[in-house]
Point group: C2
Chain length 356, copies 2
């Protein structure tokens, strides 16, 4: 349990003091040099390098105290079974050390970093430590969950859906009838699929996070994938930003490399628009010319380690270059209000027309 890990950390420090040693922490290093892509697990991961941080060291003491303060707040939160947002943690930590004019933290960046260090030291995620980040997104489909004592049936959520919280660690999946999950980039597409009851027709779950998935949603997708074997299909626009959304879900990200294992879905499948779809569905007239920033991003994304040696993806990227522009999922509307629900998705899933 999280609380035991925190208590062990505290005891270790007390032990250091009782032995008249300088209290210290082993903090894994998070610089780029310690981050690698592991082709076997298909994860962006943190290496094994660590650094020792001491209490009695002028260069270390501030960060040392900040980290221990976050551990104390985490322990308090777990004991009273409450959660705090990162911003609130910052205000809680922003106090002056008695008889000095030194604040424990002056900027939220310091709190955030201290929390990341605590994640690294304890091996627990921010969410397990009862710290929450921003939230976004909603879900509908054939799953019943239990959350804070409530039974919530995602197939009875009307036009809105169930709003996904920032922290999904304590959610129980009571009944999972759905056979797969469609993760959707755009809210408008989600509303289209929900109105067309796609989750009922295809027996699935539809989840949207409006752009890049939040940590809460990544963890929710991962839990459903790991605990219930639900494949995750990623439905995004045909542009470098859409591919990046898929990339983060599947391989992880550099900034969260230390927590890749509890956030990524290595089996995630790309179900977004493809250059071939543009031809097949007659969407050429809806190509929106790349701006410089799009082209730059396209080159960056296509050069990622995990795409670089993948012929299928390299072909995809070269066709994207030939298109000379982006195409949105919403462009399918020209073929009919519910074309995406009745034809596009049904065909793609029937023909296994996705990219792994």
């Amino acid at each position: 349990m999280s609380i035991e890990v925190l208590k062990k950390l505290g005891k270790k420090l007390i032990n250091d003091i009782q032995k008249n040693e300088n209290p210290s922490l082993d903090v894994p290093i998070r610089t780029l040099s310690n981050i690698t892509y592991d082709p076997k697990t298909k994860l962006i991961k943190l290496g094994n390098k660590t650094a020792k941080r001491y209490l009695f060291n002028v260069a270390h003491i501030k960060k040392f105290v900040q980290t221990i303060e976050t551990a104390a707040i985490s322990k308090e939160l777990i004991e009273v079974n409450k959660h705090l947002n990162l911003r609130e943690v910052y205000y809680k930590m922003r106090r002056t050390i008695p008889d000095t004019n030194i604040n424990i933290v002056d900027e939220q960046e310091e709190t955030n970093k201290a929390i990341e260090d605590l994640e690294l030291i304890t091996g627990l995620s921010r969410e397990q430590l009862h710290f929450n980040a921003d939230r976004n997104g909603f879900a509908a489909g054939n799953i019943i969950i239990k959350d804070r004592g409530h039974i919530i049936d995602w197939s009875k959520m009307g036009s809105g859906g169930w709003a996904i919280p920032s922290n999904v660690e304590e959610i129980e999946f009571k009944k999972v009838d759905a056979k797969f999950i469609i993760y959707i980039e755009k809210a408008a597409t989600w509303e289209r699929l929900n109105e067309d009851r796609v989750w009922e027709k295809l027996n699935c779950v539809i989840i949207c996070s409006k752009g890049q998935a939040t940590r809460g949603i990544r963890r929710l997708l991962q839990r459903l994938n790991l605990e219930h074997n639900l494949p995750v299909y990623v439905l995004v626009d045909l542009d470098p930003w859409g591919i990046y959304i898929y990339s983060v879900l599947k391989f992880g990200s550099i900034s969260l490399a230390h927590i890749s294992e509890s956030l990524t879905i290595p089996g995630a499948k790309y179900l977004g628009l493809t250059p071939d779809d543009v031809e097949k569905y007659g969407l050429k007239r809806h190509i929106e010319k790349y701006k410089d920033v799009d082209l730059k991003r396209l080159e960056e994304v296509s050069n990622y380690e995990w795409f670089k040696h993948d012929k299928r993806w390299q072909l995809f990227f070269s066709k994207m270059r030939e298109l000379k522009g982006k195409v949105e999922i919403a462009a399918l509307t020209e073929r009919g209000i519910s074309f995406i629900s009745d034809s596009y998705l049904v065909e793609k899933i029937k023909n296994k027309d996705w990219i792994e």
Copy 2:
């Protein structure tokens, strides 16, 4: 019914044609000169000026055709009981007129404007015409609704809440036990209040839209206010942006002046942080110095017609200037994890310590 209004519009045009007249539309003018603040109704409203738009007029024909095209799409949507997002409507309209190389629309801006014109001509809101915009936000509390055949109990939504859709026109309120609504600017504050079950303790509803309220949320608040007499309290940070969120909810906005009556809540009350709270709750050390953009916004907001002649607000603004910076609701966390739920809100509501 919406469909009757659209049919009437179509018949009027056919009638024009049969009488050999140039088909025309009366479109209310939306320039600033036709927008006023009405101190009696406390609404930002559109005046009575209209302009005639003709089919056979080179300066008018494009907009004329675009408006009629949106009417045709709206009729189709209402008939099949579906909805389209503004972006999807744009793609649906983006077709080439046969035997020409002219597209009905080239930019989404044109579709959006045509839809606004249709709102003005028909007196129906975009939502009643089955056009949806962006969505955001979530709700929890003592209300049971019926939506698309589902009974949804907002008091049994776990840690997430019910996700609020873009269009709330067709929602039925089946049981309203709540006595008031707290509208919350920040998702973190909403999660705090939800975890502390404030909606249960104070018998209310908590709604969040992450910043400026969407049209869907404004309409939801307004419907609960009008149909069930629920007062709306607005819980925002102490800065010009927070005050503006309150201002839009209560008085409307210039860009949506034509639809003020179906979106605003003239009785909305400001329950956000006040300069006096900063003193009372010892938050002075959490003042974050104004940037130039904040100061500029403060002057703009304090000069709005509806604040300019209100002594209480002018005193408020002058105290804001004296503070020289912003203060966030989250700063209350320093007083205790649940201080906002257990003390701040309870006291404010008990003492009617809000601003109308």
